[in-house]
């Protein structure tokens, strides 16, 4: 076998409050597509950012073409020939396509003011052609749909003439056609001897493109699969590390009376018809759909964050007017938002301050915060949710994702919810905390709370829901009761197809 182009041995990396990587090793050969898979928070992105020079290792050795190297900066990585295509778009959206592709290395007439725009326009054409992006290099990037912006990002990486291309969730906003085109580009690159590190949640994609798979779990190597061993189930088994059954907890439940009725609901800017559904006390309803199907928008509209265009919301049969979150909370409808870091938590504040924030109205005398009652409330939630923190005074931003998510939940448990909407409750959460969150949801529903769980994680949807609503392009595409609940049926509805007879 040839010398690996990149070889990493015993990589360690810690962030405040989390050990992101522990003794991780992998190697990749010239012209190989190595997929790195793992759950959110398994350490994939951290590892890739180490290779690309964004982060430094705490310990461990990296060899590049056999030589030990220290990748101290992104510039250093690029000089070696390692280019990372970020998961988030990193484009200057007021510049044109060519300007973005050549950003930072514009050919000039000798001075920084003399950018030869014609030259970058003409040089962009073959690059765009190669990835099958049919837009003019003079199009302003911000005017392109998001999928094409992602292709521009890929074009930029290709133009850097790299030996190792790291793609972090490259298809997350690509259409099927663009994805196919990307596969073709990857095959081309392989022929040229370029290696590709491919990170994806979409295991189907990994089956298609990968030559070898490395699985990470909780920041450690969990296993490796050769080309002929790459199968969906094999990857899931390594990722989760246990059988699925014990993972999800479902007590026998009997749904009670109707708690939430949503009638003809639509939000401003929504396409497709209005939405109707009902939640009953003590049931967990999963909500599936592809990214962009409108699930988060629906949750935000019910919670009063997003402007309602039409429709009504009833709680316990009575109509409630919800125009802002405070009104939803008063009606007993609580939302655990999609992005805990920007929407759920005040990261710089303490565990205690975060837990008490929505309850301060009840924790004060003469508008002064009662510190003792606040402490008691925070301590009670920390204990009952098993939040692992050195104390309730600890800054929330320093805790791990799973513990942060428990605190977002804890904020609301103190308010005795009637309806709890959870938007991607286990994204970026480690396996242990996931199990605890599922157990908590199970307990809440047996206590009579109506739960709507939005999730892109199909296993979770299948594992925990009593029934599932599926959204497709802004409308409810269908409902699946437990007896019809299969991965295939969910995907059919989510992609706009009908159910199998």
């Amino acid at each position: 076998m040839s010398t690996p182009i990149l070889e990493a041995n015993g990589i360690f990396k810690a962030f405040p409050g989390v050990q992101a990587l522990q003794d991780v090793s992998l190697s990749i050969h010239p012209g190989e597509v190595l997929a790195v898979v793992g759950e959110n928070g398994a350490g994939k992105s951290t590892l890739m950012k180490i290779f690309a020079g964004v982060y430094q290792t705490d310990a461990g050795q990296i060899r590049w073409q056999g030589r030990v190297v220290a990748i101290k900066s992104v510039q250093r990585a690029q000089k070696l020939g390692i280019v990372l295509i970020h998961q988030e778009l990193n484009l200057a959206d007021r510049l044109d396509v060519a300007g973005n592709i050549f950003l930072g290395r514009e050919p000039t007439w000798g001075g920084p003011l003399g950018i030869i725009r014609r030259k970058i326009w003409s040089e962009s054409v073959p690059i765009l052609h190669r990835i099958g992006l049919e837009v003019s290099p003079r199009t302003i990037v911000g005017d392109l749909p998001i999928g094409q912006q992602q292709m521009v990002e890929i074009a930029r990486a290709l133009s850097l003439k790299s030996n190792l291309l790291i793609m972090d969730e490259p298809t997350s906003s690509l259409t099927q056609r663009e994805t196919e085109r990307l596969y073709a580009v990857i095959r081309d690159l392989k022929k040229d001897g370029i290696s590709i590190l491919y990170i994806s949640h979409r295991l189907k994609e990994v089956e298609t493109v990968a030559d070898r798979v490395v699985v990470l779990r909780d920041g450690r190597n969990a296993g490796e699969l050769r080309k002929d061993e790459i199968r969906h189930e094999a990857m899931v088994r390594l990722m989760v590390g246990r059988e699925l059954k014990q993972f999800f907890q479902r007590s026998p439940r009997q749904p009670g009376k109707r708690v939430l009725d949503v009638h003809e609901l639509a939000w401003v800017g929504k396409s497709g018809g209005a939405i109707n559904f009902t939640l009953r006390a003590g049931e967990i309803v999963g909500m599936a759909g592809l990214v962009g199907a409108g699930r988060t928008e629906l949750a935000e509209t019910i919670f009063g964050v997003r402007k309602r265009a039409s429709g009504q919301i009833h709680v316990d049969g009575e109509r409630v007017r919800i125009q802002k979150p405070a009104e939803a909370i008063r009606a007993g409808i609580l939302l655990v938002p999609e992005d805990r870091r920007t929407q759920g938590l005040v990261l710089d504040a303490s565990v205690r301050d975060n837990l008490s924030l929505p309850s301060l109205e009840r924790l004060n005398r003469l508008r002064l915060v009662s510190r003792s009652r606040e402490r008691a409330l925070a301590q009670q939630q920390v204990d009952s949710l098993h939040v692992r923190t050195p104390g309730i005074g600890k800054t929330v931003g320093l805790l791990s994702g799973g513990n942060q998510q428990k605190i977002v939940l804890g904020k609301w448990l103190a308010r005795n919810p009637r309806v709890l909407i959870l938007d991607e409750p286990t994204r970026g959460v480690d396996v242990g905390a996931k199990t605890e969150i599922y157990a908590l949801m199970d307990k809440l529903s047996t206590d009579g709370v109506a739960i709507l769980m939005i999730s892109s994680d199909l296993e979770e949807i299948l594992g925990i829901s009593d029934r599932v609503l599926v959204m497709h392009e802004g409308r409810l595409a269908g409902e699946l009761t437990r007896d019809k609940l299969t991965e295939e049926n969910v995907m059919r509805l989510a992609t706009g197809g009908g159910l199998a007879r």
Partner: protein
């Protein structure tokens, strides 16, 4: 906390250097004058600081001071208000509050950037003051003796002459109220939460717009208070210049005291200390023979050095973890 210890030490160093500089610096009179100015500047820094903690900014403070001082001077020349100055005070406070309300509504409801809204305010209220006064100086002359007497004689408390200027006492009183408000009340919690992460605050059911507007109202009201106190001290208001650049002093005091313009950070005690540094620093450098023409340069340099040090320490602290 470390930051707070740092600025306290800095204040002590400045004060130490001031004391050893010159016998004139050690006199009671110099202390009295410094205390009077700390009291005045402190009032607007307090208002600006609370607003900055919510993530807002107000560039119109100086013009609001000018407008309110001019308005107050003109009101006090009206015989009716001369008899009942308390009514004039109430009117000026209401005008200040109303200006803050307008700023807050424009920022939160119309969603114009705070920087732009208050930059426009800076022009608008300055022009309004000049128009209102016909661009002439509005003096009090010998009127309002009792009010001036009440505000600017030395203070007698329980029969003892304690030699503290009224402006300092008013500032300390306001600061005490602000400590309760910011650090112990529900409102203060909301101010910090909004400044740190407005979205999370809103998702927690807090009426974020209401509290942001409240911060603007407090800031402009403090400017009105300052305007009235300044008029009592100066005995006249010059509509074209009274209060110019004061917003920068107010913001500088708050920032020196540890408020972050990103929001969510700062304390009343810090603002008190920041303001004290702002006042003591030029006095200290003057006493050491540095020309007072360089006052702005000294203040600017200190602010910059503080900001650089803060950033360096933060980075050092982050890498040490």
């Amino acid at each position: 906390m470390k930051k707070f210890v740092g600025i306290v030490l800095f204040l002590l160093v400045v004060y130490g250097f001031l004391l050893v500089a010159d016998p004139g610096a050690r006199t009671l009179l110099n202390h009295f004058n410094l205390a009077r100015r700390i009291g005045l500047y402190g009032i607007i820094s307090l208002g600006a600081g609370m607003l900055i903690i919510t993530g807002g900014i107000d560039l119109s403070i100086g013009s609001v001071v000018g407008f309110c001082a001019t308005l107050f001077a003109m009101l006090l020349r009206v015989p009716f208000f001369e008899q009942a100055p308390i009514l004039a005070i109430l009117i000026v406070l209401l005008v200040g509050a109303w200006i803050g309300l307008a700023n807050g509504v424009l920022v939160t409801q119309v969603r114009v950037q705070a920087f732009v809204v208050t930059l426009c305010g800076l022009f608008i209220y300055r022009g309004a003051a000049r128009w209102l006064a016909g661009d002439s100086v509005k003096g009090l002359g010998n009127s309002c003796g009792p009010l001036k007497e009440a505000l600017y004689s030395s203070t007698t408390l329980l029969g003892i002459d304690i030699w503290a200027p009224r402006s300092l006492l008013i500032f300390l009183l306001l600061a005490a109220v602000a400590i309760v408000f910011l650090h112990f009340s529900v409102y203060g919690r909301y101010f910090y939460a909004i400044g740190s992460n407005e979205k999370a605050a809103s998702y927690s059911g807090i009426a974020t717009s209401r509290y942001k507007i409240l911060a603007y109202v407090l800031c402009s009201t403090m400017a009105a208070v300052y305007g009235m106190l300044l008029l009592m001290q100066e005995n006249s208001a010059q509509p074209s210049s009274t209060g110019s650049f004061l917003e920068l002093y107010a913001i500088a005091g708050a920032v020196l005291g540890g408020c972050s313009l990103r929001g969510g950070e700062g304390s009343v005690a810090g603002i008190v200390i920041g303001t004290s540094i702002l006042v003591l620093l030029p006095n200290m450098s003057n006493m050491w023979g540095i020309s007072s023409e360089l006052d702005f340069t000294v203040i600017g340099g200190a602010l910059l050095a503080g900001a650089i040090l803060d950033e360096v320490l933060r980075r050092f602290g982050a890498s040490a973890r």
